[in-house]
């Protein structure tokens, strides 16, 4: 197939010169605002730069280059593991809950029951809300004695926990808010996977006597697995980058129970004047995310079905 071969080889060589002026503006932006900072941050991670000294001053590297010292300190210290533990706790709770919530939303959106049109208006509102506003409102909702959540639980005779003030519950509270905020976005993506499924599968299954539950597990989920896969990858990356809700709702507390990677990076860079250390921290985060994504990519062969 000559067409396919052509596509793989990219545009013809003389096309490149024609394309160059059109590509240049965005390419320059990419180079200057993404690639260059990326390289610079890699360089900074090998220095003890404090964020105040001038990076471009002559002799900067000679004076501040400390090799792998930052990486050694981070990897040998207890903090990274504690922070990774906190992030892990978040991921373990967040991913399944978020997936369940967004599947439910997608299912409700695709159905034709009464009241669905009202739901279609409402479900995306949390996504559009700013994290700052949402965090502040939820802080008040989760207030142990006077907040809406515990008063609601009290109606059912349940004594609600201290949520954000309780070391054991603070991360769960963050997960709850994050699921509320993100489910609409991921639900929309799952919906697109769901409506793409050919109706004839369901008709055939009905003839064979399959119930709603069985149809959902045996037809809907396998056929929308590419959408689910995409959602899992994006959600995991987002989860590692957890930041604004923590910063506003708990500030890393109580007793550092909600300290996570990006929160640490921000603090080291902009509050503790250890920019080199923060840069090294962010590269470690990058490697972790990269590895997790690679594992997911490998594992998809076992369960993602592209034949729909």
């Amino acid at each position: 197939m000559p067409q396919k071969a052509n596509r793989r080889g990219g545009p013809k060589k003389d096309g490149l010169l024609t394309a160059a002026p059109f590509l240049l503006p965005s390419l320059l932006g990419l180079l200057v605002f993404s690639l260059l900072p990326l390289l610079v941050s890699a360089l900074i991670s090998f220095t003890d730069w404090n964020g105040l000294d001038q990076l471009l001053a002559p002799g900067f590297l000679q004076e501040h280059f400390i090799g792998l010292e930052n990486y050694k300190n981070i990897l040998s210290g207890a903090e990274l593991w504690k922070v990774l533990g906190n992030t892990g706790a978040y991921i373990i709770m967040y991913i399944p809950l978020m997936l369940a919530a967004s599947l439910l939303e997608a299912y409700l959106l695709s159905s034709t029951r009464r009241g669905v049109s009202a739901f279609r208006v409402v479900y995306y509102l949390p996504v559009l809300t700013s994290w700052v506003a949402a965090s502040l409102i939820w802080t008040s909702v989760l207030s142990p004695q006077y907040g809406a959540m515990n008063n609601l639980l009290a109606l059912f005779g349940i004594q609600g926990p201290g949520w954000l003030l309780d070391e054991k519950w603070a991360m769960a509270a963050i997960v709850l808010v994050s699921v509320w905020k993100d489910a609409g976005f991921f639900g929309l993506i799952l919906l697109s996977g769901m409506v793409g499924i050919n109706k004839s599968y369901y008709e055939a299954a009905s003839l064979d006597g399959a119930g709603t539950w069985k149809k959902f597990w045996r037809i809907t989920v396998p056929l929308m697995s590419p959408a689910i896969f995409y959602v899992l990858i994006v959600a995991l990356i987002n989860a590692f980058q957890l930041f604004p809700q923590v910063m506003i709702m708990t500030d890393g507390g109580p007793n550092s129970a909600t300290q996570v990677m990006v929160e640490r990076i921000y603090r080291y860079g902009f509050r503790y004047f250890r920019m080199g250390y923060a840069a090294a921290f962010s590269w470690i985060l990058f490697v972790i995310i990269m590895a997790c994504t690679a594992i997911q990519m490998k594992a998809q062969k076992r369960w993602v079905n592209y034949d729909a």
Partner: protein, 435 residues
């Protein structure tokens, strides 16, 4: 292939051009890191005094209400020094320090600017600030000046200060039939009064002093303790006096419960609790005067905070500093000295009710005493005899965050006070190297 190469070359060239455009500071000899220690050599690189100069001054304190007050001060200054033009940049607090850090490292920092106490030591120790010389700042209060003195060098002038006094709800004291607090009260007197007020009702509390880093280092000083040894070479966070101080603060929440815990607070602020009339006493800043005067539907007054072994009370100040890389240090020093210590600036500041100028001259301050409530405004000045300043170390923010996290666990009861301070001590030792 050739065309391919030329395209790559062209974009590489563009990149190099852009990079070099970003770095004009590299050729500036005054910013060499080989010379981080600021020498009072500004005389050579400043223009003669009779030539007009323009300097920039960044601040955050004027944002949100006092931009015009600062402008008024500047106009008065410019009348006196017509040769010095000051371009004032007022930036909101939330953006100020991130922006400033970027500008300092990029070599585009303003000639002089404002720093809070948390950031001051870091900037001074990293060579970003110039020693302030050649000006007369003898009119400034010594405690405030000392806060911005590092190893005998004055790197900052106190722009304004505020302190903390004990606020109390007179009506609740009347209801409990006990005497009002006085300046010679100790923590034990306070505890008794707090218990009597707590007995008035389920949701009425005696006292509120959160177990935070800021309150902790002050109470530690009242107990005769300290977070660092005398020459600041070692942490002494879990010393017995400090444990006793934190234990008293935690017991007020967890044992006698004269102070509400976080759940009992229910997410409302401490000022709101006081203004709701359900709190007997609280130590807080004198910047609460206007808010309380408007918001309290009951009689209240102030007095000097109680002590233990000795009295100690908070002092908050912001420094006006000079950029070490500035080539107009002399003009900058003239402006910030005038701004912080001149009678004119002080008068404008007091008239606007914009904190207190950190000046010695009590007569300028007398106008401040005439405003009521509180009736006992004199306590603001009496408190000045007991000021403590936070331990100024380079990693101040890191230390205060570590201690703060552990104290909050002690306040919630998840760690004992001893455990909390032991952990704070070992984490500070592990993460911070003191000089």
């Amino acid at each position: 292939m050739k065309k391919h190469l030329s395209a790559i070359l062209a974009s590489a060239l563009a990149l190099v051009l852009l990079m070099s455009a970003c770095g004009p500071a590299a050729s500036d000899p005054t910013k060499s890191p080989d010379n981080p220690d600021p020498k009072p050599s500004q005389q050579q690189d400043t223009p003669p005094a009779d030539q007009p100069v323009t300097i920039t001054y960044s601040n955050y304190n004027a944002s949100g209400g006092n931009e015009e007050t600062l402008q008024k001060m500047y106009e008065a200054f410019h009348e006196e020094y017509p040769n010095i033009t000051v371009e004032i940049e007022t930036i909101a607090y939330n953006d100020y320090f991130t922006q400033l850090q970027t500008r300092v490292s990029g070599g585009t920092a303003p000639d002089c600017y404002e720093l809070n106490i948390e950031n001051f030591a870091a900037y001074a120790n990293k060579g970003a600030l110039a020693e302030i010389t050649g000006v007369d700042f003898s009119g400034l209060d010594e405690t405030s000046l000392n806060a911005f003195n590092v190893d005998g060098k004055q790197y900052g002038l106190p722009g304004k200060f505020s302190n903390v006094v004990l606020f109390y709800n007179k009506d609740l004291f009347d209801q409990a039939k006990i005497d009002y607090p006085t300046a010679d009260w100790t923590q034990d007197d306070l505890q008794k009064a707090a218990e009597a007020i707590r007995a008035l009702g389920d949701d009425i509390y005696g006292y509120y002093q959160p177990l935070t880093y800021n309150e902790f280092y002050k109470v530690v000083a009242q107990f005769g303790g300290s977070l660092l040894n005398a020459d600041k070479t070692e942490f002494t966070i879990n010393a017995p006096e400090n444990v006793a101080a934190a234990q008293m603060m935690a017991d007020r929440i967890l044992v006698s419960n004269v102070q509400p815990n976080e759940v009992q607070m229910g997410g409302i602020g401490d000022w709101d609790l006081f203004m709701s009339g359900r709190l007997g006493m609280m130590p807080t800043g004198i910047w609460a005067f206007n808010t309380f005067a408007e918001g309290c539907k009951f009689d209240w007054d102030i007095t000097v905070e109680p002590g233990k072994e000795q009295k100690a009370t908070h002092f908050f100040s912001d420094a006006c500093v000079i950029n070490n890389a500035s080539d107009k240090k002399e003009a900058a020093a003239t402006w910030i000295t005038w701004l912080t210590s001149s009678d004119k600036a002080a008068a404008i500041r007091i008239e606007a009710g914009w904190d207190l100028p950190a000046i010695k001259d009590q007569s300028t301050l007398s106008a401040y005493l005439d405003i009521t409530p509180p009736a006992n405004r004199q306590a603001v000045f009496d408190s000045l005899n007991y000021l403590v300043v936070p331990p100024v170390i380079e990693d101040y923010s890191l230390m205060s965050d570590i201690i703060g996290q552990k104290l909050s666990a002690a306040a919630a009861g998840t760690l004992t006070v001893q455990e909390a301070l032991d952990q704070a001590q070992s984490e500070c030792q592990a993460q911070i190297s003191l000089k």
